[in-house]
Amino acid sequence: MNVLKLHFKPIAKVKIKSKILFFIFLVICSLCSTSMYSQNEEKKITGRVVDEQGELMVGVTITEVDSHPVNGVVTDVNGNYQIFVKSSSSSLKFSFVGYKDYDIKVGNLNVIDVTMQESITELDEVVAVAFGTQRKKDVIGSVTSLKLSDLRVPSSNLTTVLAGQAAGIISYQRTGEPGQDNANFFIRGITSFGVGKKDPLILIDGIELGVTELARMRPDDIESFSIFKDATSTALYGARGANGVIYVTTKQGVEGPPRISMRAEGTLSMPTKDVEFADPVTYMKLYNDALYSRDPFAPPIYSREKIDETELGRYPIIYPAIDWRESLFKDNAFNQRYDLSVSGGGNIARYFVSGSFSQDNGILRVDKKNNFNNNIDLKSYTLRANVNIFLTKTSELIVRLNGNFDNYIGPIDGGNEVYYKVVRTSPVDFPPYYPVDEDHKYVQHIMFGGLKDRAFLNPYADMVKGYREYDRSLMMAQMEFKQDLDFITKGLKFRTLFNTNRISRFDKIRQYKPFYYELSSFDKRTGKYSIDVINEQSGEEFLDFWSDEWARVQQSIFYAESALTYNNTFKEDHTVSVLLVNILRSQTNAQANNLQLSLPFRNLGLSGRATYSFRDKYFTEFNFGYNGSERFDKAKRYGFFPSFGLAWSISNEKFWANLKNLINNFRVRGTYGLVGNDQIGSADDRFFYLSNVNMNYGGFFYGKESDYLVRGIRVTNYANPDITWEVSYKTNLALELGLFNEWNIQADFFTEKRKNILMDRVDIPSTMGLTAPVRANIGEASGEGFEISTDYSHYFNKDLWIQLRGNYTYATNKFEVYEEPTYEKEWWKSRIGYTISQPWGYIAERLFVDDDEVANSPAQRFGGIPNIAGDIKYKDVNGDGQITELDMVPIGFPLTPEIIYGGGFSLGYKEFDFSAFFQGSARSSFWTGGDGGPAVIEPFVDGKNIIKAYADSHYSLENQDLYALWPRLSTQHQANNTQFSTWWLNDGRFLRLKKVEIGWSLPMKMSNKLNLKTLRLYVSGSNLLLFSKFKLWDVEMGGNGLGYPIQKTFNLGVNVVL
């Protein structure tokens, strides 16, 4: 389509806001032919057109309403226009593809500046679909496009944006650690319970990439961001599409002089919420209580004197009272981001070149004595060049180069682990480090606090003793060739694309071995004390180095795709399109610890699409994917995944004409089809049809010196040639409604049936002695749900506009076929009918009243210390007189949220704009302590600290609260109290103010003076408010609550276009 443009000379550079050129072009040519008439009219109007972000809009058509012949112009490269109209009673109509039309009466105005509003469901809009584009009104499948302005949040991680932005995405974020803060996201929930891939396929410029690569995309480089959800939109990706597709394309150059866009942002980042711990004195008192309550013979570990002195605080070194979080973390961190892009070009070539830099810092402290940085410092650079070259009038060559580089410095075990270490440390045993005293003047190292005769953890020492460095890079080179084949038949085109990616990451760790000191004497009268090193031999002052081989990534991906397309309209009524595409993909990983993993991962496929529509009223579409994967046995290697869809635009029928003003769009559509998934099972058991044997597993030492080792052999996978694709059967029914030309509503109802889910055979008893699980494609699950999105926009006048939007996704799922033992009596143990992430747990009735009750209740044997009053009492559901696994019942909501919703508004008044966005999540639960259960935060056990909330509310002899937050304290792991039970299941529901932004654009007069096209300043904030019943930590973190907190940010930015 680009090709056609060469025959004319468009008067303005075309700003590509959505990815269609065809319609833009049509509009442009119609204007070209008419603009010459408008030279000598009576009244001259000038002005400038910008979008909501204040960006100049090029190529907007301005026409005088009801003029004959049509009087119209197009905005120039600077967004400016001038038009001569007949009289002041004339009206002007501003229009641009993907934007709402804007009408204004000229009156006595001479200057009319206009802010155009994006329209999500503009009928002529073109959206990305698999291997191509379609007009929005032709799309039958379920495809959602995100507005690019919504992708811009004060974060260097694009994935954190997704929650609540688009109907159909279930997303949540569990940590705020820079570099690790990728959100989890799923399209229409998770409908597979296999151990394989559950998250969507991510395609960037058609290439499958990982979550981190998506996370590093800069919104300013993105041209379109779409989500494919149902069968017809994903079936072409037969092998990979079952979990939905996220499809991103990058910008291309537009003809014209260089257009330079710059953006700079500075962000202040801080935890949304900190977990509060009990004060040190309370800690010690409760520790003694805990010790005594379990063992009346036990002497208190913290003496009266220590507690009193700690409280008085006279000798902070002798009687330390450490707030480890304060010692380890700063209050906030400053982050920055810069984007720069240049685009332009001429008849032969067009270019888009962009570069960006971002730096995200952690909030970890650094010790001045070290000359290295152990705080998180993630610098990320991207460079992108997209160049389109017209080789002939009918052939185009596109070269895309993209590099993305991360340089990371941070703590050895990662920031999340540093946070967890705070919990695992007692606040009163030792200070982080001892100050240099007279005896240790000569000592060069930091004198960390420690304990001689007990295991201890000094998180400060662990944090500052060294650092991890990693370099991650993605290099992508892509060449695409497009050829018009009109000479064969009109509407036939061919394109082919070759792409290669290299992804690498290597980690280096440098650290010294800390010296720990312990107090050796203290004279209370003089206040003098002495300290002694406790690990003179094993400490080392110098840095040691190793490279972390486990973290190493080296990946090489080759991808090729060739497509033939045919589009034509016959007799104006019959529109036909056909697509045939073949793909080939090969990926090799260097980090392979066995032969099977060292072999390339490959896919081969042929896919096709045929569409037919009649007068924009009736639409039909057929798709198929025929794909092969190297993972399966020859007989099972290829899968065929067909799908079809139908749509009816009722509002285009004649009988609707009268309603058209009220209901401008009314359309129903439906699809059904199959999509496959070959990424089943874990990477380690790749070739299901082959057995995998580890020829060097374990072994036995023989010999007089026990030093002659003969390695053993172990089957790690049993062969099963029958294993094949996981297949998803998807149905989608949708309704589109457009009201008053201002309000759009779209609702999708979907169901999915996932078959052939790979699962472990569970009925194989231990007596078989198998060394690896046996698997088969026997599982089935189903999913269903609905999603609604709506947007509304309204101009009050040329200065004031408002836009509202919202979306809501509900996706649930359940086990249909799941191999499990037959439960004759305990029917509740069967998973069938429950959601895939349904938690099972014991029913915690309350705490035991007294020891007699313990003795007279069903036996609760979980190992660990005997139960006493104040321990959790569970319900004996099956009534067999003991609490066993059989008494675990499904409790609470699933662990993955079933509802994600978001909504917000944007408001513009003259140069100002203001927007706010809320996001929420519901129908989810999480375990206190996550997968590890509450044992992860069990107070006092292994020296752990106690969370203030638990210090305030726990069972004790003084406060025999049978429903306290924490049961009776113990200094040893109490397995009874840390079982998964209703006691520890929390409601994960929340609503948060995700983003607020206020912007101001420089008025045109001033920007013209400064020779700028646009200048916009904005302040924004993210995660500013959180509404939730759960108070201990940021509820979105779920079970990871003691990890690196989710960040709230305050952001200042400027965007300049030259």
Binding site: L595, G628, V693, G698, F700
Partner: protein, 631 residues
């Protein structure tokens, strides 16, 4: 041009034709067949079969170290699964030391049996091996298969018998195997061992690469021991398990006593001992070394008792697990410090303390139980007494300790470290200038904080090689001896026991007990009882002699992972393991306060504790399995 483009398009789509693109697996990816294509890989599979021998030298994996009443630990070590068995925390939800599935410190023994079956199915296929060698290897694996069955039987009672592996494709009902009555399982185990005997080698030719492999004396010894188990009260005429039946009503335990079982045990013991003698095995005695010239007879006796286990491959050891060595065990048994200069040492920590009950088990110096000795003042055993010249090789001269520690048999001083006790070795080899322990609070070995100290006050010296030293504050250097699975002394005592059970006391029984007593520096059993016991005729009756043999065995085999099982097979566990665990009051600084018996734990043992619970999940998966009584 058009032609070129057409060619381009066609070639682009031609890629589809290359199906080879997906054929990426090279031909020689390892499969199980590779294991038996040559001797070198078959040897690996042999090692695989061996590798399922439980790590009995590791206290975390051997339930018989902490699981009974020999050791007691600080509550800080409640993460040690085996210790939780002693505390009565065994449970069917998440069984401790789960040998069935291989969880919580247990070895997955069914996997071990399955590996043995794979080996036995395939070993004859190996082309480059001599027939005789194949048969020898197969015999070793047969023995291992028998031993794994025995280990499961001992832990779980009736178990399924896995003669052969079921195919992976076996149907649901086929794989749901049934437990078999204990007699049938014993018979199968003995059958397997008998099959192996003919092909096993008598000795190891290359000690550097083959020591640890199964030999004929090992198989004979193990067979003897297994038959003694089969004849013992737990499995022979046990009426407690009447009503414990299979799904189809079959009794798991035969309630009828059968003296023929003892006959088999006697025969097997005799054969094993004869074979061992023929191959030169004899009781170990410390004969001195380069560094221990001119030591007193007392010290020599002590070192003999320490050496039976810790002296690698001494003349008495028939079977030791070369893959389960004892560095960790020793470092945690050895006292943290041996004098004040080592107070800050952390290389060893002495956390595995020995209970007062076990210290009381040892005889008086007259070779009879302390409560039976007419000369030993049992009533005043907790009084204080000062060490003198007379016992200077046992107790530090001039040091005040309890009567309890005085006038005991040499094995007491060889096996135990205690406050005031002499600790020979560890770098000090002059008998008149040895280390001694001081373990009251405030002393160099005293309790500092919870954790690193012996909670009951005694240390398991027997398990510590005498030259081990703390070379620096953080490093404990030890003789890394392999865990002893079977030694001649064990067989002597089993033989004596079996003989007494079969025919009552006679001279042969006394002889075998006396061999052990002589090595321990004690008078003969007849003389001791006649001369010093309040019940001088005890050794003349079957019941009396049984009691004597049980105590002799308790002392001789202490800390070797026997008592846990012996108490069960004798059905004495309900008496012994329902007593409170006690120790000295180690929180005290003065001798007077320290030497008071302090209760550490009220141990309980009931019928259910004889056997492991099966994991609830295993029962759900295989409905044909019946849970053990009481769980």
């Amino acid at each position: 041009m058009k032609k070129k483009i057409t060619i381009l398009i066609l070639s682009a789509f031609a890629m589809l034709g290359c199906d080879n693109f997906l054929n990426i697996v090279p031909d020689n990816v390892a499969t199980i067949d590779y294991a038996f294509r040559m001797k070198a890989t078959a040897e690996k599979y042999l090692a695989t079969c061996y590798s399922y021998l439980p790590y009995l030298g590791n206290p975390d994996n051997n339930p018989a170290i902490f699981g009974a009443d020999e050791f007691w630990l600080s509550n800080h070590y409640s993460y040690i699964f085996t210790f939780n068995i002693a505390k009565g925390e065994q449970n069917p939800n998440n069984p401790l030391i789960d040998f069935w599935g291989g969880y919580n410190g247990g070895m997955p023994l069914w996997q071990g049996i399955s590996q043995c079956n794979i080996f036995l199915e395939n070993i004859m296929k190996v082309p480059d091996m001599m027939e005789e060698e194949k048969r020898r290897w197969a015999a070793e694996v047969k023995f291992l298969k028998a031993y794994y069955h025995f280990y499961l039987l001992r832990a779980y009672g009736p178990i399924p018998i896995m003669r052969e592996n079921l195919p992976i494709s076996a149907s649901g009902e086929e794989v749901r195997v049934y437990r078999r009555p204990v007699d049938e399982v014993f018979d199968y185990i003995i059958e397997l061992i008998d099959e192996s005997l003919i092909n096993l080698s008598e000795t190891i030719r290359d000690e550097h690469t083959e020591l640890g492999r199964i030999t004929l004396p090992i198989a004979l010894g193990a067979k003897a021991k297994i038959l003694v188990y089969a004849a013992s009260p737990l499995f022979n005429g046990n009426k407690d398990y009447q009503g414990f039946k299979n799904q189809d009503g079959e009794d798991f335990f035969n309630a009828e006593y059968d003296s023929g079982k003892w006959q088999k045990a006697v025969d097997a013991c005799r054969e094993a001992i004869t074979s061992a003698h023929g191959l030169g095995y004899e009781l170990y005695e410390f004969k001195g070394s380069h560094s221990t010239k001119n030591i007193s007879p007392e010290t020599q006796l002590k070192l003999s008792f320490r050496g039976v286990v810790t002296e690698r491959w001494n003349s008495e050891i028939i079977w030791a697990n070369t893959s389960s060595t004892t560095q960790y065990l020793q470092a945690w048994c050895a006292p943290r410090a041996l004098d004040a200069s080592q107070m800050s040492y952390t290389g060893s920590n002495g956390s595995f303390g020995v209970t007062l009950k076990i210290a009381g088990l040892f005889y008086s110096k007259n070779g009879v139980p302390i409560n039976e000795d007419t000369q030993w003042n049992y009533g005043n055993r907790f009084d204080l007494r000062v060490g003198t010249e007379n016992e200077k090789y046992y107790i530090k001269k001039g040091y005040t300790t309890a009567e309890f520690n005085f006038d005991r048999e040499p094995r007491f001083y060889g096996a135990l470290g205690f406050d005031g006790g002499i600790w020979y070795g560890a770098g000090k080899f002059d008998d008149d200038d040895s280390y001694w322990l001081e373990s009251k609070r405030g002393q160099f070995l005293g309790k500092q904080q919870a954790g690193w100290h012996s909670v009951p006050g005694y240390f398991a010296k027997k398990l510590i090689y005498y030259t081990n030293t703390s070379t620096s504050a953080e490093l404990y250097k030890s003789e890394n001896y392999p865990w002893v699975m079977l030694r001649l002394g064990d067989l002597y005592l089993l033989y004596a026991e079996a003989l007494n059970e079969l025919n009552g006391p006679d001279q042969e029984v006394y002889d075998y007990i006396n061999k052990i007593r002589t090595r321990a520096g004690l008078p003969d059993v007849e003389d001791s009882w006649t001369g010093y016991s309040k019940t001088p005729n005890k050794y003349k009756t079957q019941e009396g002699l049984r009691e004597i043999i049980h105590q002799e065995r308790g002392i001789e085999m202490i800390f070797e992972g026997q008592r846990f099982w012996d108490l069960r097979r004798w059905k004495e566990a309900p008496q012994e393991l329902n007593k409170p665990i006690t120790g000295w009051d180690v929180d005290q600084e003065t001798a007077k306060a320290y030497y008071r018996e302090k209760i550490l734990f009220f141990q309980t043992f009931s019928l259910k504790d004889y056997f492991w619970p099966m994991r609830e999940r295993d029962l759900i998966i295989n409905k044909n399995l019946v849970q053990n009584p009481g769980w």
